[in-house]
């Protein structure tokens, strides 16, 4: 599924989408950047509360095309700048991590009912 289609399906606020056509394979939910570094699969969007530059850096390293900030966390200027430099999409949602994950699961058709 393309990132753009996922954004639409999940109703996320697109704060920055450098490449809407990039393919998304799934999601990874974590607020521990070391954990993201170790386990986040290539092509997964990162669902996290960590609204800082380091999240962008980690996504670049593991090949995660987008960050979904939960709880509507604000995007600091430095983070926005880093993401635009690295080509990482920034999305916001009022959902928490659990519900954001469910939306992805549903959009990707992994047996998530209402």
């Amino acid at each position: 599924m393309t990132l753009n289609a996922l954004i639409v399906a999940c109703g996320w606020e697109p704060a920055l989408v450098p490449d809407p056509e990039v393919e998304v394979s799934g999601a990874y939910v974590s607020d521990l950047l070391s954990d993201v570094m170790a386990h986040c699969p290539d092509g997964a969007v990162l669902i996290t509360v960590q609204n800082h530059t380091n999240s962008v850096a980690v996504c670049t390293l593991v090949g995660a095309p987008a960050i979904v900030l939960v709880h509507n966390r604000e995007i600091p200027e430095e983070m926005q700048a880093a993401a635009s430099r690295e080509g990482v999409a920034l999305l916001r949602t009022t959902d928490d991590q659990f519900h954001a994950a469910l939306r992805v699961g549903k959009a990707l058709g992994i047996g998530v009912g209402e």
Binding site: V29, A44, H71, F98, L102, G111, V112
Partner: protein
């Protein structure tokens, strides 16, 4: 859905049964930030986390959580078992990722 059913769905290994096994899971929280967990005013919370530390259990006790499931098959420090026992907190580990665990719990609660 009870905590013991959740453990089954997550193919989890229950390390400490505590007081939560027969309790109903009301709300699911998937977070590694304890402050984040403390912000949520939900009862009967299940905490899915990739953080393996005593503080996860202490936080869970503060918010009256039903239980804690550490995801990614992370090995737990032995102190966690002791703290969980002290606090009567249900503690389990699952090999699933947090994302897969979220989807699995939800799917079990709301079958297609």
């Amino acid at each position: 859905m009870t905590m013991s059913k959740v453990a089954e769905v997550l193919q989890a290994e229950v390390l400490v049964k505590g007081d939560g096994m027969s309790r109903r899971v009301g709300h699911v929280m998937a977070s590694d930030l304890m402050s984040d967990v403390l912000l949520v005013d939900e009862e009967d919370m299940l905490l899915l986390t990739s953080l393996a530390s005593d503080q996860v259990l202490r936080t869970a006790q503060i918010v009256g959580a039903v239980g804690v499931v550490v995801v990614n098959g992370k090995p737990l420090p032995s102190s966690m078992v002791n703290v969980a026992n002290d606090l009567g907190m249900t503690l389990a580990t699952s090999r699933l990722s947090k994302y897969d665990a979220c989807v699995a719990v939800h799917t079990a609660r709301h079958p297609l």
